[in-house]
Symmetry: C2
Subunit: 367 residues, 2 copies
């Protein structure tokens, strides 16, 4: 079994861990026969759970970690817990023992630990969180979703490179289209930072795929395959869309239980309604990915169930099997050469980019 | 007829103007018998339309304006068009002839003209755009929706004051709850600017109503009656929610036409589904309001129909009848006294607020 197909699993992260995690691995093990899982957490509890999940047991190796990082713990405190399940799982990626890690634990802690222990890819200023969601024209990748509250031009350009590689790898697209989130599609809208990022992308190897500015409604419309934005905006947009879908779902349930004829109506339309519900099921889109690190890091929603956790494992496996990080390095090399071509004033350089935000109090990373 | 019940109407703004505007006024005139409309635009066309809309004609006075501001015209160019219907309508507010203006024309031009011609209320740094939307717990007010791409602490505090008064006036609430948009509800999330705004609100007369930080999903959940955010985030969130609702609406239409049994199911559930559709109908929420000006300024969606335009007129009338601007002055006076209490370091002062963003290239107003 190749080492590159091993995923470290934080067995103790998430609201319903470790039961949910092991049940999720049982599903994932069926779908990925070549995968090996390094299951990190309370050895006694995990051994007990694996006795009940034979299929998962065959793919798992337990590694004991006595501690658990709480969901409200500050990242700075989490960094000190060397015996935490999340930390031991991340250490396995840093040492090369595992190709990636999946955790449903504390997002801020996972991001901080991954940055410090696994480290960012050469040339990447700051990692970003990406996720896949549904749209009228197929799945859409959006990033950043909250790793960076404020982003400069360089960050946005790097997010476009990472989003491109992610969409190729996980969605299987050959030339994903890329949009830069703004509040109008006209050239004049937004701020200097956005306009500079658009200019760089138009001169880069991504130019044929770059669609220009997109707006909030373009997410659900699927105007582009990849949507690039800062972490504050991306986080708000993702949660706003989830909230709107949840509202409509709840209202539809009310409508279909409001009268006998509505109940019968539901039964008659049920096949299509069930397909729609499955298609919009948040579990199907579970697994936010931290891009730009020396390894695959996938964050499962903390409140998910076994099916959702298995989907997060799917995402990690897709990235590992399709050599995501090798492709990332290729994409970054092309952007770095562009930076060189732009000369000393290159807008994506680490020091001389406009709006690089040095000294900006808003640069603190989100937890 | 009191002068304060007169609204100036930009008859030429919007995709289907002036027909849509006059048809909308016919609906509005039924609902607001005391209202007078100063109908500004092409005199001959408007006179012709009023002959077909007798009810509107009884409430309207035509004022000729030969020009129309195009939907793509830059605000700087629009400022020069003194004969434009939008300009003449705004002039009527500045002169005191009308208490407010409603336009479905170019948003950037309307905002720029309103700021320069009508001017901001004393004590207001920058006007904001607000709108009402549906939530699980009743209507919600959100601002800013795009007038200010980047906002400082002072702006966010002023938006809270304006949102409070707007929710009292238009939603009829006695003590609307207020949330500040962030990417987590914990105190540590976000940036200094947001934390400072939260601190000021906790010390202000709004403290009992201030809920703290909210997240994207809180918009549809209706966690608070008012949601305060910067114009970039608010614009993206509004359009993201609209896009998500449109996607689900389209998918539901597909489901209900996908088979004969689904069609029959639709007919059986139809009363509830129709109520849901009406409740979520964007026309019911048409009318974004520019707050913080010396007069009522309502922007109708450019693509709306007569029913949507009539709703924008409803919003303007609510604000005029309930003396919105008098209440605004009261709210501002209370915040100004707080500012004095904070001494020379008062964070909402026009000069010494942290993150006031002077010199920040991202401060350009959105069109």
């Amino acid at each position: 079994m190749s080492e590159s197909y091993t995923l470290a699993i934080d067995a103790m992260g998430g609201d319903h861990a470790p039961e949910m995690v092991v049940a999720g691995l049982a599903l994932a093990a069926e779908r990925h026969p070549a995968a090996r899982f390094l299951l990190v957490g309370d050895e006694a509890r995990l051994a007990d759970l694996l006795r009940r999940h034979k299929r998962a047991a065959a793919s798992c190796t337990i590694r004991h970690a006595p501690d658990k990082i709480g969901s409200d713990l500050k990242p700075t405190m989490a960094l000190r817990m060397r015996g935490a399940s999340m930390r031991v799982a991340i250490d396995a990626v840093a040492s090369g023992e595992a190709a990636g890690v999946v955790s449903a634990g504390n997002t801020g802690a996972l991001l901080a630990l991954a940055k410090i222990v696994i480290k960012t890819l050469p040339g990447i200023d700051r990692p970003a969180m990406a996720a896949i969601g549904p749209s009228a024209r197929g799945d859409v990748v959006m990033l950043d979703l909250g790793a960076n509250v404020v982003c400069d031009t360089r960050n946005l350009v790097e997010f476009a490179v990472m989003g491109d590689v992610f969409a190729r790898t996980v969605l299987g697209l050959t030339a994903p289209t890329i949009g830069l989130m703004n509040i109008g599609s006209e050239e004049l809208k937004g701020d200097d930072r956005l306009r500079a990022a658009a200019d760089v992308l138009r001169q880069s190897h991504l130019a044929p795929q770059f669609h220009g500015f997109v707006e909030g409604h373009d997410i659900a419309a699927g105007t582009t395959d990849v949507i690039v934005t800062d972490g504050f905006t991306g986080n708000v947009a993702l949660k706003t869309a989830e909230g709107a879908l949840k509202l409509v779902g709840g209202l539809l349930r009310q409508v279909f239980s409001s009268s006998w004829s509505a109940r019968i109506g539901y039964l008659l339309a049920r096949p299509g309604l069930d397909r729609l519900r499955e298609w919009l099921d948040p579990r199907r889109y579970n697994g936010a990915v931290m891009l730009g690190l020396n390894g695959v890091v996938v964050k499962s929603h903390g409140g998910t169930d076994a099916s959702g956790f298995a989907h997060a494992v799917d995402v990690a496996m897709d990235m590992v099997v399709h050599r995501f990080n090798d492709r990332m390095r290729e994409g970054l090399a092309r952007i770095v050469s562009l930076q060189g071509g732009l000369g000393p004033k290159g807008v994506i350089g680490p020091k001389d980019g406009p709006g690089s935000g040095n000294g900006d109090p808003r640069l603190a990373a989100a937890g």
